[in-house]
Subunit: 215 residues, 2 copies
């Protein structure tokens, strides 16, 4: 019975995700779902990548958090339209939560919608919010063993951003081992290596995002 209910929940989520995606498609908006552990560096990646995007694209952001609007405040400071969703305890965003806030955006002035999910390497992967692509953010100091321990997020994502790569040597982490394991899970995945605060690797990530946008 529990499994049946879960199946229904996922089916109902998928239906609403398709509704969201139709809206994105009607307006030729490319939508990504940015996922990763708490502290993976998703918001810092966004803050610093937005600076490289906003003279080329109209970007909008949805910030998902359980509580607080700290992340939305940080994005707002970059000048990009942002709406905060507080899940009030839930460990992931779902399509319904995102659907409810889409009316707050001007889709005619939008090329790219970035949804930053709740910090969680596990649950968000199972709930599409209508995105065209999922992107996994993994701080390399989380440890070399993470891809094989949490494979689903890498299997389902089209790109993986390895963050905090400037700490690799100090923390005795092999980026090559992490890349090898991610590619063993998903040979097609695109991998970026960044140190967001220093700007390292961000132009490559920003250019790739631009290349994915349909207009």
């Amino acid at each position: 019975m529990e499994i049946k209910v879960m199946t229904n929940v996922l089916q109902s989520n998928d239906d609403l995700a398709k509704t969201n995606q139709r809206l994105f498609d009607q307006h030729k908006v490319f939508c990504i779902n940015l996922m990763g552990s708490p502290g993976a560096g998703k918001t810092t990646l966004l803050e610093n990548t937005l600076k490289l995007l906003t003279d080329k694209l109209n970007v909008a952001v949805i910030e998902g958090d359980i509580y607080t609007d700290k992340d939305a405040e940080r994005i707002e400071a970059t000048g990009v339209p942002v709406v905060q969703i507080n899940t009030g305890g839930a460990c992931h965003l779902d399509a319904g939560m995102v659907n409810k806030v889409l009316g707050k955006f001007d889709f005619n002035a939008m090329d790219l919608m970035i949804v930053e999910n709740v910090g969680n390497l596990v649950c968000p992967v199972e709930f599409s919010v209508g995105e065209h692509q999922k992107i996994a953010v993994l701080s390399i100091i989380e440890g070399e063993d993470k891809p094989l321990k949490y494979p689903l997020i890498f299997k389902e994502s089209t790109a993986a951003v390895l963050s905090k790569v400037d700490l690799a040597e100090l923390c005795e982490i092999s980026i090559e081992n992490i890349k090898r394991d991610i590619l063993s899970i998903n040979p097609q995945i695109k991998i970026f290596e960044v140190a967001s605060r220093k700007g390292q690797g961000l132009p490559e990530f920003a250019n790739w995002l631009i290349s994915q946008c349909p207009k």
Copy 2:
């Protein structure tokens, strides 16, 4: 309907958690549930703390992971009895999963049972496995904002272990701000500051664990 099913799931979990705790109590075993994000340093904390415990206590470990037995292998190398639970996709351990493996341990030769949960700062908190105390592990490089963004784990835990504190200065993280926020959520919580690979702070944590054991 979804909420009602969730309530039933939690109630049924709580019932089984009580069964587990009765077994611990009958044998005067102190049980802790160690929780934190992927890469918080739970296993490294355990590996290095076990070295300080095993000449004073009989310790046993349950390792929870979605996939792989990498963590159990690391604990096994310390000589401590360990059983790996693979949740096969689930984002947390529950009382039923733990109940099924308890028969594999010799409770008469056990003072302390440490359950290391799946790497997830959100979901494991809601599912008791029968532990006497929950312990939160937070790597300080996850960011100063984490306690207020993920308050429940700190509210429900009796102790918080701040790990990787040796990276505070390099990553421009204020440990004092993190402690202040954790204490604002739970003024009674005991806070430890550790750098597990260097052994820093581990004697204090180990001595506290010993002081909590009933025999």
